[in-house]
Symmetry: D2
């Protein structure tokens, strides 16, 4: 069981919505909608994915990383290393 | 017809792929995959959407904005204002 | 003369302030201030630089790119290519 | 003493460099340098600040948050909440 267990329904709801947003963007392209209107939707979908990522990260820090650091040792260090890499990818994406 | 006309197939291919990525992320959540692995996929999907946005923006500047600025006057200023707002949303999302 | 000529004073004021913010962050590190408080200031300085970038880009599109596209031809294409690369760097930094 | 104690010299070196970069950008504006060249430097300075932030965050998670979670209870939860807010600010700046 992972940290996001309690938030699973909310995550799945957000991901369904984001999937629908991306599908909607494709339809806008097919229907030759105006570039700026499409860009507005792409920014919205990107933000939606960021919210999912921040929620996952928050649960991960609060559960998986917290449990590992309570044990200490190499397991904890590996969890923190992983979390830092995930944060760097998020900041730079 | 908009600036992205010549790139429509590429845009649609990227958007299909991004849609599939988001659907895949939902499946990972359903299947209780490890948080960090899911976060890696969310960063990849965010990057894919950014590439779509930059491609759309590039076509928009090269066609819609260029044509408007060739005419000059309020139409040009409006196109540039719109483009600047879209860029700001992208930078801040 | 470049597009930002009319905004030069505002840009210089913002850059002075950002420079002061970065100097202030260094002082916080020297004074062993709390990590989270320092991180808050780093986010503020990053946002300040983004505002400078968006202002420069807006002036560039409204003047240098607009003038070039009014002439058309390879000069215009080069200006648009350059602008797109600068936007991509901004979105990905 | 905070998590970044061992990295203080590196942080200060990076911050001095970033401060010099911002001062250099102001000089470019004063000297009427080309917009795109200035934008390139702004992206570089923004990236430099992001590297400082990621380094601070990494030390914070590895020390302050790890120590707090080893104790558990409300202190740990507050540290994790703070860390999540700092990460969100970074992702969205």
């Amino acid at each position: 069981m992972h940290g996001y267990e309690d938030n699973k329904d909310d995550l799945l709801k957000r991901l369904r919505r984001a999937e629908g947003q991306v599908r909607g963007i494709a339809r806008m392209v097919e229907d030759d909608k105006y570039c700026i209107d499409i860009l507005t939707q792409v920014s919205a979908a990107t933000k939606a994915l960021e919210t999912v990522a921040l929620s996952l990260l928050s649960d991960h820090l609060g559960h998986c990383v917290a449990e590992a650091t309570a044990q200490g040792g190499p397991v904890a260090q590996e969890k923190i290393r992983e979390a830092n890499e995930a944060i760097a990818r998020l900041v730079r994406s």
